[in-house]
């Protein structure tokens, strides 16, 4: 259960807000019942579609980030497919990508420590130079 997924789906635009919330709550229930955990739910709002989907020109985008296993994802996708207001959905596995990003981040952090020591004296020197210049300037003007 160490995988996590992003499930994005589009709900038809002519749905009421309350119904949309109910629909999302239903999917969240499926995830929890199936043994997964919900990381976040995000309503991305209404957006114009890039092409016509079931004769709709725009749709409500919803993004779920979940920890789940394959069975649960299959079940969730089945439910998305049969639920009438959902016009499109996509599931993307994110954990391997995240692992890669963490690795890069770690590498970058170690590099930064080395580079941070070198340029540290430089700004101090500039700051020291500037007041000196200011001091020199004031007597000249006075």
């Amino acid at each position: 259960m160490d995988r996590f997924y992003e499930v994005m789906f589009i709900v038809r635009p002519d749905i009421e807000d309350a119904d949309l919330d109910k629909l999302i709550a239903g999917f969240e229930q499926t995830i929890v019942n199936g043994g997964g955990t919900l990381r976040s739910t995000e309503k991305l709002g209404r957006r114009k579609l890039a092409y016509l989907v079931r004769k709709f020109n725009d749709g409500n985008y919803v993004l779920l980030t979940i920890d789940a296993d394959g069975k649960l994802v299959a079940e969730l996708e089945r439910r998305l497919r049969v639920s009438e207001p959902v016009i499109k959905f996509i599931t993307v596995r994110m954990d391997e990508e995240q692992k890669r990003l963490d690795k890069i981040k770690a590498i970058r952090a170690t590099r930064k420590k080395l580079s941070a020591q070198a340029p540290a004296p430089a700004p101090a020197a500039v700051e020291a130079a500037e007041p000196a210049a200011a001091v020199e300037a004031t007597p000249a003007s006075a």
């Binding site: 994005m8 589009i10 957006r47 579609l49 890039a50 092409y51 989907v53 749709g59 993004l63 499109k88 959905f89 996509i90 993307v92 990508e97 890669r100 990003l101 890069i104 981040k105």
Partner: protein, 111 residues
């Protein structure tokens, strides 16, 4: 982005800079854009946007970013035009295709 589309044909020959060098006698070999001989305009070296700006994650949700690498008709712009490195082009392609599936980007522009 737009100015980088013009020098497409010469750029493909530029990396193997040994080719045009002997032929033209190397009139301006000091230019980093490649010694292209009698070229009318200066070409700057194209660099990978993702490498230089340190963009690690190419998400299918980031439409703004992906849009820069999609042509008017909705095609993915090839690497030789944009200068994106191989690794990032691969990730970019995947992200664009995912975005197309969820109707964030068009498969083809509507006319």
């Amino acid at each position: 982005m737009a100015d980088e589309t013009t020098p497409r044909a010469p750029e493909s020959g530029a990396p193997s800079s040994g080719g045009p060098g002997p032929r033209s006698g190397g009139p301006r070999s000091g230019g980093p854009g490649g010694p292209g001989g009698p070229r009318k305009f200066f070409r700057r070296k194209k660099v990978c946007k993702f490498c230089t700006e340190k963009i690690d994650a190419i998400s299918y949700r980031d439409v703004r970013l992906l849009q820069q690498f999609v042509a008017e008709r909705g095609k993915i712009v090839p690497r030789r035009l944009t200068g994106v490195c191989t690794t990032h082009q691969r990730r970019l392609t995947r992200a664009i295709k995912q975005a197309r599936n969820i109707a964030l980007l068009p498969f083809a522009a509507r006319y």
